[in-house]
Subunit: 143 residues, 2 copies
């Protein structure tokens, strides 16, 4: 088990166990972005620009060591590394979706984010969901 984050916290509590794995500074966000799609390092960086490359690497490595994401290195030049969810990582979807829904409702109450609703086709199949145009979540980079 990697996760240097939250080294403390009761070892017998399921909620603590979950926090230990996804409670890192950008972990839930990274997992959310990786839900339903494979992304390269720089794509993730563009989606989470406030994380420095060093932090990104660190968080991604911990997620990998905890078996939540898989990292594929292509021996080409320039280098290419793909990140995607493992089965265990995908099983986090109910949590991430609940966080997304709650945050959406909160932001709407505050008058932000007018129309960024999650398509219900996403919640079950989560294969090729629609992008979310009014926020950067799941907006595939176009450049």
């Amino acid at each position: 088990m990697a996760s240097k984050e939250n080294p403390s916290v009761n070892k017998n509590c399921p909620v603590s166990a979950t926090i230990r794995l996804i409670g890192g500074k950008y972990k839930a966000l990274l997992l959310w972005h990786l839900t339903g799609q494979t992304l390269r390092f720089n794509q993730l960086h563009r989606l989470v620009p406030e994380a420095t490359p060093k932090m990104l690497t660190q968080q991604l490595r911990e997620l990998e060591e905890d078996g939540l994401i898989s990292r594929t290195v292509y021996p080409v030049v320039p280098p290419r590394v793909d990140y995607s969810l493992t089965a265990l990582g995908e099983s986090l979807f109910p949590i991430l979706e609940a966080m997304y829904r709650w945050g959406s409702a909160l932001m709407q109450d505050e008058g932000l984010m007018p129309a960024c609703t999650m398509t219900d086709s996403y919640s079950t199949t989560k294969k090729e969901q629609e992008d979310c145009p009014s926020c950067s979540c799941h907006a595939r980079s176009k450049s």
Copy 2:
């Protein structure tokens, strides 16, 4: 908005918004313990002993400032302060429950926590749920 935790993170993303409010070191855990019951400071401290009183106060104050919990001070001696969830805090239940379920499944896969299942009466009414004897979650302190 209080939450000094995660000061960065994309401002337009619902998942980030959620993390900003419940992403603190012990926040989700505290909220989980407060689900369905009012607790005093020392009760919370016993349930989360790895948090120092200072940290507890800090996290609880941020949760209060963010409108997730309410803090009631009784002007008696010895002092007494009760913490409970607000309506907004209770609306986090789907997230916390998802985290609980996922963590439970993970721990069972690892051979830990033999029989700590969440009673389904809890998931909807969440009023007077059964305690969880094999872990400290929602185990009301007896002393």
